[in-house]
Symmetry: C2
Subunit: 318 residues, 2 copies
């Protein structure tokens, strides 16, 4: 089977790791959110792409939940001593990624080209594609005014109350330039929306260049995995955002978000075992809802969820 996975950071990357282990080499493409990207200290930083790269190459820190394993912090410590901006913690080894990327971009390479280069250098089989080579930037609308995403997410630790989101540059941005050709040349058997933040990770991908319409036209089923489990987000501010947006904090609200914004897109929706009691309320025409173990604490759980998504795609396709 061939899979196109849509991913933000940690949760999405975990499922992609499971998919990469289950699929034949070369059959996984990951379309990654770039609306979190920003320029910091003159470096082009792509947090979600890097989380996917580090996770799929086995470099991700297991304990920290972000960044590289075996990381050190000499540069940031020295920068702090010099009075520089050290709120966004760039590890010493992580800096190499940003330096290489920034240099290649400055030399005229596209973000897609740099990402493929980094993936190759890290020994990754899967095809990692930024959702766009154009800058799309999430602005978090909050009770403290508009905040650039990383200001909200890292500097303010998601403290401000969210009232909405805006994606600067979205209207002008073009979808990843290789994606359309790849989808017609090697049509996927499953489009999997990973358990990433619906508002700031998945929405930008689906909305850039009307990507969701393109995906909806494919013959492959489109299946989403809920990032909300038992009323909580496994990681990140999705649950807090939903509460602040006056939405129920539930897998059902995630499903409703996707079906109302992208009508006809989803063919399947995966909720966690702990939310099994929600099942009767999630019946939606044309959408197969499945209950699976979606929490991925180890490699086997990642592979298990990947296998279940692949099985669901097969049953949805028949």
């Amino acid at each position: 089977m061939r899979v196109l996975a849509l991913s933000g950071g940690v949760g999405g990357a975990k499922l992609c790791e499971g998919l990469a282990a289950e699929l034949t080499s070369g059959n996984l493409t990951v379309l990654v959110n770039t609306a979190d990207d920003f320029t910091h200290l003159g470096l082009s930083i792509c947090p979600d792409i890097d989380t996917v790269l580090y996770t799929l190459s086995g470099r991700a820190s297991k304990s920290r939940g972000w960044g590289l394993s075996g990381e050190t912090w000499q540069a940031m410590d020295a920068l702090a001593e010099l009075g520089g901006e050290s709120w966004f913690r760039l590890g010493d080894r992580d800096l190499a990624t940003h330096l290489l990327r920034s240099e290649e971009l400055a030399a005229g390479a596209s973000l897609s080209e740099v990402t493929l280069l980094l993936a190759e250098r890290m020994g990754i089989d899967a095809r990692i594609l930024p959702m766009s080579d154009d800058a799309v930037r999430t602005v978090v609308q909050s009770n403290e005014g508009d905040l650039p995403f990383q200001d909200y997410f890292v500097r303010r630790q998601c403290e401000p109350e969210v009232t909405g989101f805006r994606f600067e540059g979205l209207a002008e941005a073009t979808l990843n330039p290789g994606l359309r050709a790849q989808l017609s040349r090697e049509p996927p058997d499953l489009v999997l929306i990973c358990p990433s933040n619906p508002f700031v990770s998945v929405d930008p991908i689906l909305q850039v260049d009307d990507c969701w319409r393109l995906l909806g036209e494919l013959s492959a089923p489109v299946i989403a995995v809920s990032p909300i489990v038992a009323g909580l987000a496994i990681k990140g501010p999705a649950a807090k955002m939903m509460a602040e947006l006056s939405m129920p904090v539930s897998a059902g609200a995630v499903l409703k978000h996707y079906t109302s914004r992208y009508p006809g897109l989803l063919d399947g929706f995966v909720i966690d075992e702990s939310d099994a009691t929600l099942l009767p309320n999630l019946q939606t025409p044309g959408i197969q809802v499945a209950v699976e173990a979606t929490i991925m604490k180890d490699r086997e759980q990642k592979r298990h969820l990947a296998r279940r998504c692949l099985a669901l795609a097969k049953s949805a396709a028949t």
Copy 2:
């Protein structure tokens, strides 16, 4: 006494450290060569300025002869693993300096402003001034063609045979914008040309915006310390360059270089004790030649040479 020191990297910085210890706070200004500067991995790197900053703030590595003490190399190791350019070894803590500088420059600050900021943040009393805020770049003319300075110096480890030098941007560059005003407001009692490479460290400073003519018009004596001792350079390629340029490798040839290129500039010239036998051959009208211990292995030797230069200035002024 007030001193204006002209400095390249390591040798010059050592003497500046001695001067800083001998002079009253605020009475040392260092005009630093920037023709070694380059952009690497997207970062603005100023090797001579950084050597002066690190040396005067007590941060310089004592064992390595360049860079910071307690340095680590995680970023460069990671970059090498990614196939990036790691020939110019940027330490993790050193990276903080380049990140801060590059960010400030990108935000519109001048190199002078950034350098004063860095000096302040490092707790340095002396006024560290880049020779110019404009880009002047040494090109080493060699038997392998023209090489950007760091390509020659670091990447090729000074291996190519030198046939000459060219300073790109020199004709258009303006002298450090604060220097002229400072020289008339607080005229120095000594202009000291540190024991730095005459061709690639001192020449660019003296030649930018005809700086040497400005210095020659001051009432202060101008004294140079020979970087060549007993036919050798203490550090760096000065001796190798002289041999390749068919010059005698001697303190005398350094003196001749300065007197022929900058007629009337020097009032004093300091050679090392080990070259005392050269003294009779160095008699030059208007130039007092002094024999001193110029090798600076520890702080006391740096202070001693600084004191001797200050004494020479006093005797030259009377």
